[in-house]
Subunit: 335 residues, 6 copies
């Protein structure tokens, strides 16, 4: 069984039921997530041995978050606890022409206060096959940036494959470091890149479009700048409205561009965490030596099915995803 | 800040959760609405100073209804209380090919018993810019008709602009007065008319169709009959089924016909109150001196977004509506 | 008022709310159903006198199941009670590309243990016009097979019209009898056949396709083998995904093939029990001497509206179905 | 199986969950009840054949109310339907020192409009052993008074035993008739009287206290005035607060006073309908020829257990009540 | 109508339903409160004109909090908005021997960041009769301390009566100032003191016990130190366990000690906010010139009834409280 | 960290919300438990390393049950999966004088079909300090008896301490073996006995009463018969009614009788699993070398707090239990 390590903030998400606005309800639903957490949960359900490293509040909410990870099989042995509160976010869900809205409460969370040198990365990476990080983590605080940097350097030493999803999130990066510079140093230590034109342009100062041609050019440029990168995966999305999207994916392996069949999500149940589901699909395919086509199809299917699952993490199991990856998108009832 | 006054019954709506039939559930959801109430709530959220005049039951249900209005910023200082119960309606929600069904319980409500001369309209209209009424109010009882008539006459004296949505509702108008005659007298005191072929034909005894050409002809005929009317706004709706509609709007300013882009509502969350959302959008545009095109786009956007909001009133704020009015109907998640 | 008798297992269905996976929730919704039960409930709501014969657990769950049938007007006087538990099934609902999944807990239910000679069929069929059975009942146990066989023989004697929906369900038929042989004997005692290519091929060892031409050929072959069969009704379904289907129906009366307008279900609320709703529609049309076209349209409409109703049974009343049967699929709100 | 007939309004009760105030919640629970309805439901669950006569709204709410009665086995064949709404009441539940509050919405209900000569009482009373009425029914309207009067006269002719619970409810009796006079005529036609000092004083103009001695004196005076009355049952209640009561009962059979062990209800779940549960217990004991002691103990136990059951009617079955009647009030878990 | 101003943080409270632990549920209930907020809400419901001054997050959660205040009639015109999140707290409710547990998330809230000189106190106190503050506010931050200090000085100038509840809360007071010193300066500007031995000892360095004698001595000492203080109110509580308390109250008017009847709360629904309910009761009595006895009884009754109301604020109205204050603690159902 | 192993059926419990009867609700709450499972969960939360051995259904319900155990930290690596369904039980909760009622659906569960020689006990007991079993497991089936027997023999070899709670449950023991004989062989292999007069009498054919004196005599007799038994723990319960109990505990260590302070549970939240909470408390005390008094106090406190926690397992942590064990039963709110 492959072992995957992730590192990042665990968030509790609080959201009104149905399509209610916050002031309309005296009840909220609570889910536990976080972009890297979601990757761990999905890979754990797919059968990998997973470990998530983080820091949570030392109260019943932090414990509930860890219970949730443990219920999905994620090893939380190296999660630290602190006085600060758990990171939270509130969501007013959208529908059709109405945008969902997120309001974060994570600026002073237990995770941001994590001490950079407090994590025994060598022990954590023992027997590990893979480490995944995203652009959210180094965007929080100097502490978080340094801890991630340290992890990447030790991963490199220990020959753990590294994937990154270096999405730039506006509203973060407020502690002083320039996003572009910080991310460059981290991407340079990574092997698998999940991103496309937007990320290329941020990192390289280029102006690539969303076309296949530009994805290819951007990939080549990226690999030129960051020679450790081997493969680049990108997903694209076109949307009728908040309830109806179509998703596609493509990848560049250094020689060829591969793409997969688009999947139409005609009735979106939950849009959040679909990118993390895609990342987990990419990692699963790579870990299991899937062909490029197969990995893309699996990752796109994982992303698709996440749109039908409530909460942040993709709770679909291998069979559920694989059926879609093999082209059966009928959703036929299984008795 | 512009001040808008509305007058009409406040209703509590009781509805099974999800798509359940009444006999399937031991839980109901409760919302507070009423066609003119909805206009006040929407305009209040859009930033207007609003006052709603009504009469509710002198019990905890009447109080809860007022709490709801107050929570949305509507001034309820002139709402009276009485022994009779609050008006209610029950809804079995529909979906796709199944019609939703409404059952009213409002015939002996506190509102119907309101004494015509009991309302200090002059005080209420002090500093008011706008008064809105609908065809529901005069349809309830002689008392309600007389109170509205009085309001309109004082509004005229005090130079308060008056908008009307003189929809004829079958099942009402049972107290003796002929709808056509009663409405004519009230429309004659109004400045902005919200309605189309159906209303033209009821009031004028004509036979106009839903075509743009007939809307224009009907508008001209209406203005001929009711010279105080300055602008006429109409919305039209085509529907695949109960869950999927397309809405459009047009207006006649006495010289030109304007129309706006249609908006497709592919996944209707709540169909009720969409006309009231449109009316509030029209009033907001007129009050803020929007151009005809802008007012139409804003009103149509308001109507569209209401389809995604649970309950009777449009709880969307200015930014949410304006984004759609400016053509962004993607419903993209806002972080 | 026509009297219809049904015989089969009553099941409780347990399902997470919304689209949650089982491990995501501490709440389940409970519905009572079962394929023949659903037919009785629908026909009772349509105005028939109905009686359902079964065997349930002698505990509060069995009682709750009977309460549910009684609430819908079904006579449960001949339902037996036993020590064994009520049959159950759990559903994880699907959406779009995600399949719903059913897990049964019915192998040792009170129904399976029903004693074959314990049912007073002659008393039950007194004044009865119709008896309906499905292929699920004989698939459970030898006891269930024998009880059904006995019912059919007495029905024949007492000239009760018999309809059958001899669907073959994988996962059942584990007690020894070969499905094909058992069903042949039962179909031979029936007058109305609800099924198509799949059922033809199972019973006749043929290889018909889903085409109209093959439905006609199969119907002719079926009537040749089972001369008591007079009419054959078939519904077909094409699906974009789990949330969006289109349904059609056709029938063969021995001379002509009839078909009806397809209906598109763009937003499926609940897929379960739609076949039973169709069967009830067929029986209702036949009992009321509808023309072939009318019966087909009514049955297809019944099937369509069931997709919008939560739970197992079609709770729509005559007017709701008839409106759709007459071509009004707009689902317009009824005030 | 004994057959019992009841006549009275069916009410839907709407109440916030838990201990919330109306303005605190967007969800309400719905129950179906009504004082005579509750008696029918309880007796049906105890094994009697019961029929309830009433008039409900001809809409989905009226149907849901009938479904509820049918689910509990009550025959609703003679329930009429009308245009007027179903009677409703809203409850804000109390606790400890806080009083629960009820707000009625029943003044213009379908029941009040019932035509006095429209009910085929002779058919209804065929094979009936018992008829039960309460003081609520004649308090609504002249129509309701006349219908009840007619019922009682035919019951007398047909030798159906009649019980009455002639509670006087303030807030009713607004249609003109004087409560005292009306009730006297109805009590004169009854055999079993459920009431005590309060009812004696209302009917006889006396001033009896709650003492046993006065109950005896009052009973003697009552029987002197109404010679058809054979037995008189009274329950008394002392309460620490809204959550903690103690109940007792006594009866007079014309010769002796009997009483029963008090029962302490330390944690009241639902206070409503406990008197109706007592009445049903009295009727059950009388119908089954229980001794005076046994009847009292059973009725008191029925009243006690109703305090632990949500909703209006006593849903406890014979074994549950009988265990308490026999002195086992431990509430020990039954596996 | 008397006008009361309060100043303090508005908090959202998030709590599992029933008695569930956080990890047991995917649903939370949300209430809006805060100690001074609760006083405003209660006084508003009692009929006072109230205004609450605060600073909330500029997002849908801050808006929902304000909606809640407005729904209860509290004027929120001077509430500021900021980038920081709304203060939150999570509660795991206790029962019997199990302690409820609170976890705060308020250290970096929008309220703490409020600028001291940003509040137009002179405008706010125009026509105000009363200002209430608690020891929570100055415990948050230097900003909050300074703003409160400023308010008190202007209140003094404008002759607004000031009440204080200078409870010391461990876990706060982390910004540098010593609680004792800070509070002394604020108490010196106040007229009505709500507190007892604990507060005396904190402020005066004394060692008074909970006895009446010591309450008297402490009150005398307090008035000696803070001559502006006129009356001192104290409530005491004895508890069997988390579900069953008894409350009492006493006061010192400078000459005499008054006390009131104890009230037993045998079934606590919600313990939070009971002290704030008491404070509101004191203010209401003082504002309405109640006698000492009457004020104590009213405040104790307000405290008692809050134990039966879900959420933070006392939502009971005047009649509900007054009935208890007059000695009727029976909680009898009101029809 | 001490390692504890448990073996037994995992059950899902399905129960109506609040105090509803099954037929009153369309929603059920689901909890996961089972007597030995509950012990593992409690010990895991108390900080022990725990492993539970069982066999569950190979479907989403079995997975959800395992997720629940994992969320509480229990190692489920040796749980097997099978075709048969998960064991279930339905509960209608009781209150005051009303008994709760349980209906089981476990006779053909996945656990009963577990193959006796299929469990690698030697691997499981590696590094284990403790093994706990109850009388429920051998009562199910010969398979379950044999598997347990095997476990006990290997535990003895590997010097794992064994505790037993040999409760005899009527309704089980239907597969042929005589309870008394079977249990004797298993008790003989155990070190710590949890039980009292009832268990003594079943195993020894004696007639001991519940008195302390008889507990002492019974303990001496038990140790004489089963010399491996070292300590005997017993809890006793007296109940006012289903909502109000008092619990006590005592133990015999071979020389002395120890007892602890009784604890009154005035408002029971959930009665189920309180015995398992006691057993976990005993094991925790023994494992941590608590004195007899301390162990008793801890176990009694654990039992007490479980009465306030919803679901089957005691989710209280060490501090929550220890506070009560040290005599603080006030349940004071912790901020």
């Amino acid at each position: 069984m492959k072992k995957v390590v992730t590192f990042g903030e665990i968030l509790a998400r609080l959201t009104p039921p149905g399509f209610k606005k916050m002031a309309q309800t005296n009840q909220l639903e609570i889910y536990y997530g976080g972009t890297e957490t979601n990757v761990s949960v999905s890979l754990s359900i797919l059968g990998c041995q997973t470990m998530h490293v983080s820091r949570v509040s030392d109260d019943f909410l932090g414990n509930a978050a860890l219970s949730n990870l443990k219920s999905n099989g994620v090893d939380t042995s190296y999660v630290q606890k602190g006085e600060e509160p758990l990171g939270l976010y509130f969501v007013e869900p959208g529908a059709v022409v109405r945008s969902g809205v997120i309001s974060y409460n994570r600026n002073h969370s237990a995770f941001r206060a994590l001490e950079p040198n407090s994590i025994p990365w060598a022990a954590i990476f023992k027997n590990a096959d893979w480490f995944h990080w995203t652009g959210i983590t180094p965007a929080h605080s100097e502490n978080n940036f340094l801890a991630l940097k340290e992890a990447l350097m030790i991963a490199k030493e220990m020959k753990v494959t590294v994937s990154c999803d270096p999405a730039y999130r506006t509203g973060l990066w407020k502690y002083g470091r320039k996003a572009e510079d910080a991310l460059k140093g981290l991407v340079a230590l990574s092997d698998v890149f999940i991103g496309g034109a937007e990320q290329f342009n941020e990192l390289l100062g280029t102006d690539f479009s969303l076309s296949d041609e530009d994805f290819k050019k951007g990939s080549i440029a990226l690999k030129a700048e960051f020679p450790k990168i081997k493969t680049i995966y990108d997903k694209t999305r076109t949307g009728k409205n908040a309830s109806w999207h179509q998703i596609e994916a493509r990848m560049w392996n250094g020689k060829n561009l591969f793409s997969c069949e688009p999947i139409e999500i005609t009735h979106i149940v939950d849009r959040i965490g679909t990118g993390d589901a895609f990342a987990a699909g990419v990692i699963f395919g790579e870990l299991n030596n899937y062909s490029e086509k197969e990995t893309l199809a699996f990752a796109n299917a994982a992303c698709a099915i996440k749109h039908t699952i409530e909460g942040d993490a993709n709770l679909a199991d291998f069979n559920e995803i694989n059926q879609i990856a093999r082209g059966n998108t009928s959703g036929r009832l299984i008795r």
